[in-house]
Symmetry: D2
Subunit: 139 residues, 4 copies
């Protein structure tokens, strides 16, 4: 079961086509994964304070229907892959009012240490993300 | 030969990791394709005024090295596919000072009319984009 | 009593100084006034659908302490002036965790019609905003 | 004579009113002052590397006419006040195609050191900013 977060579309996020500008969904994926981590017990702010950074290696997104100003968007986020130095999240976004699918996407990340070099997570964070992965992939 | 555009990284585009926030490259791809169109003789602003909209269907991006505040970034853009109702652009971004590759990406688009329904481009625009495609794909 | 809204600081909103980039507070004022209107019974999205636009004539802001990534920010918004064709909102923003004052600001607006010309609000909207003004300014 | 910078309006900077979203002018003021510093011989990136930060204490802006997508905007920036620990810039923005005034604004700054505490600039930077102030305020 994916972790869910909600946000309301800001006027600043629209463009002159009258819909949400496409790059904002990339920002929204960040909100999705941070809330997914939080809901599994990991604060990303704390993770950075502990010296672990989640660098973005890749993003991809597909646009199914446009979000509009003032819509409430529900973001469902899953841990789709977890390796020793990398992980992936996948996302689906819906218009909350009618459950219409708006966007699907993925992001790929590498764990970095304070010197911004590839590293392994400490056991504390690793265990939580592994539990999140397991929750999203029942046997 | 791809069309090239340059921009200077804004302070607003950095994040607390001390590098450019990853969603900005998605905005920069837009700048790349608009300048690519302009350099082939198509103003996107005019194209919208003529009732053609280039809706974004998909984006993907890979991050090779981080851009930093005040860097000059060179964006090279190519028309990588041109069909009757859709097209794709591909992009490579470099730090101008040392030609380091920062980012590669693609965007996929559908042509929409003023009612925001799929449409074919008028001959005027089609011819120019076809020439751009041909220039990027010499026989 | 001012209307209150809350938001959580996004990673995208930080800059390389390690704090929230200052222009984001201007976006947050927009969120504050939209939520203030909503909490007084006016949906700004509906207001635009009814042909009334709230153009921004002026903004000002003073920065008291920096908001940081993942902070919850509380925005208190008041209708500080209401005239026939113009209105002003004033704002105070606090870090929710410790009630520290972060930012105070004002925005000045003109009512525009669908042709984007100055207009008076319809009685429906006027009455609600007048009630909001009165609530914020008890005799 | 104020220092001038130019930028082209990005699609991302428009909103559903069909004009530039108002918070972007605050970002553009940052571009204006950085280019003004550069044109007087100060790189703000270097200044930060040397341990001096220009924190924003206050902003204000007045909107005279809307910038639109693809417009070229000319930003004229002046040093309007220079004190031992603080300074102010003032800005005027014009549509380059017809010299129409779009926006006027001011920002107020405090110099901070690496510990983010108020400080005085080193003589190197002070002299350049004083020259910029003098150039903008002939006797």
């Amino acid at each position: 079961m994916p972790a869910a977060a909600e946000l309301r579309v800001r006027y600043a996020e629209t463009d002159q086509m009258g819909i949400v500008y496409h790059a904002n969904y990339i920002v929204w994926m960040e909100i999705g994964r941070v809330e997914a981590c939080r809901c599994h017990g990991v604060s990303y702010a704390e993770m950075e304070a502990d010296g672990f950074f989640l660098a973005v290696l890749g993003v991809e997104g597909n646009y199914h229907a446009p979000a509009r100003y003032d819509d409430i968007v529900r973001i469902e986020t899953m841990v789709s892959s977890l390796q020793s130095r990398m992980m992936e999240f996948s996302y689906a976004m819906y218009r909350a009012s009618n459950n219409e699918l708006l966007f699907t996407g993925k992001t790929k990340h590498m764990f970095l240490n304070e010197e911004r070099r590839p590293t392994r997570l400490s056991e504390k964070y690793r265990a939580v993300l592994a539990a999140a992965y397991a929750a999203d992939h029942p046997a």
